[in-house]
């Protein structure tokens, strides 16, 4: 194969690469929508259940999120969530069950490096940044909200 032909091959491959991802993207979006939608529908069932028991909306929110986190952890332990994440993409990652999945998956993965420096230290390798930036941004917003509304004075 001479050089010109190789170049042309490479160019052709490049063109194919650029042309193909579009339908793939559309499929990803639909799968993310369905996966995320189904997880939130299950969440709604949990929410409806807790809204009968819990006295306030805040507590209902907390218990609903915690229950979904527990379900996400169990699904991860059983290996089901990996399959879901593979097909659902962001539809599996963005719900709170995906947050739970990152904690459990890291705990399972790093257990072999020991319980303290492995599991304990690396459990929040992805969830840690979520907490850190969630808290930092909330802190700043709450501070300004409190000052502007006079709640702190």
């Amino acid at each position: 194969m001479d050089k010109a032909q190789q170049d042309q091959n490479a160019k052709y491959q490049q063109m194919v690469k650029e042309a193909t991802p579009k339908p793939e993207h559309r499929k990803n979006i639909v799968l993310a929508f369905l996966t995320g939608g189904i997880i939130c529908t299950i969440g709604q069932a949990v929410f409806n259940l807790f809204s009968k028991i819990e006295p306030t909306r805040m507590e209902t929110t907390g218990t609903t999120q915690a229950t979904m986190i527990a379900l996400g952890a169990i699904a991860t332990g059983l290996g089901f969530y990996d399959w879901l994440a593979e097909h659902g993409g962001m539809g599996a990652a963005i719900p709170i069950t995906g947050f739970s999945n990152t904690v459990t998956a890291a705990a399972m993965e790093f257990k072999r490096e020991g319980y303290i420096l492995g599991m304990g230290a690396k459990m929040f390798v992805v969830a840690g940044p979520v907490l850190v930036y969630g808290i930092l941004s909330s802190f700043i917003i709450s501070f300004f909200w409190a000052v502007l509304t006079g709640t702190l004075l």
């Binding site: 939130c40 969440g43 907390g62 999120q65 915690a66 332990g77 993965e109 802190f139 917003i141």
Partner: protein, 126 residues
């Protein structure tokens, strides 16, 4: 009355499905068209949820969509800021430091307990 309630509940599920699915679809579009990792997107959605929560916008979405707004991580960010503001109302400035886990503490502790339990019980698949 019962029939009305039942109907209302079906609508709740539909709204949760549509709004939750839409939030995830937006994340997927961002993921497919940028070089951001899932961790970056999780952080971004949490922060956006916290900001919209602080502005009072996210709560309106949660009133409408229920779990469709509460279950995505943006709802987790909203829960952090909502807990903080409620604790500030109750305690004053200390609330800025105690409020983050007012609502989310339940979830974070659940993640630690169940994550550890799963790690003890199961081995990751190769």
């Amino acid at each position: 009355m019962v029939a009305f309630e039942k109907e209302g509940r079906t609508v709740d599920y539909l709204k949760a499905f549509l709004v939750g699915g839409t939030i995830c679809a937006i994340a997927q579009i961002i993921y497919d068209n940028t070089k951001l990792t899932p961790a970056h997107i999780l952080v971004a959605f949490t922060v956006v949820g916290a900001i919209l929560g602080g502005l009072g916008i996210y709560e309106s979405l949660a009133q409408f969509a229920g779990a469709g707004a509460i279950i995505p991580v943006s709802g987790f960010g909203n829960a952090i800021v909502t807990g903080m503001m409620s604790e500030i109302k109750r305690l004053g400035w200390e609330g800025l430091f105690t409020g983050a886990f007012e609502i989310t503490g339940l979830g974070v502790t659940t993640a630690v307990v169940f994550g550890s339990l799963m790690a003890v019980l199961f081995r990751p698949k190769d």
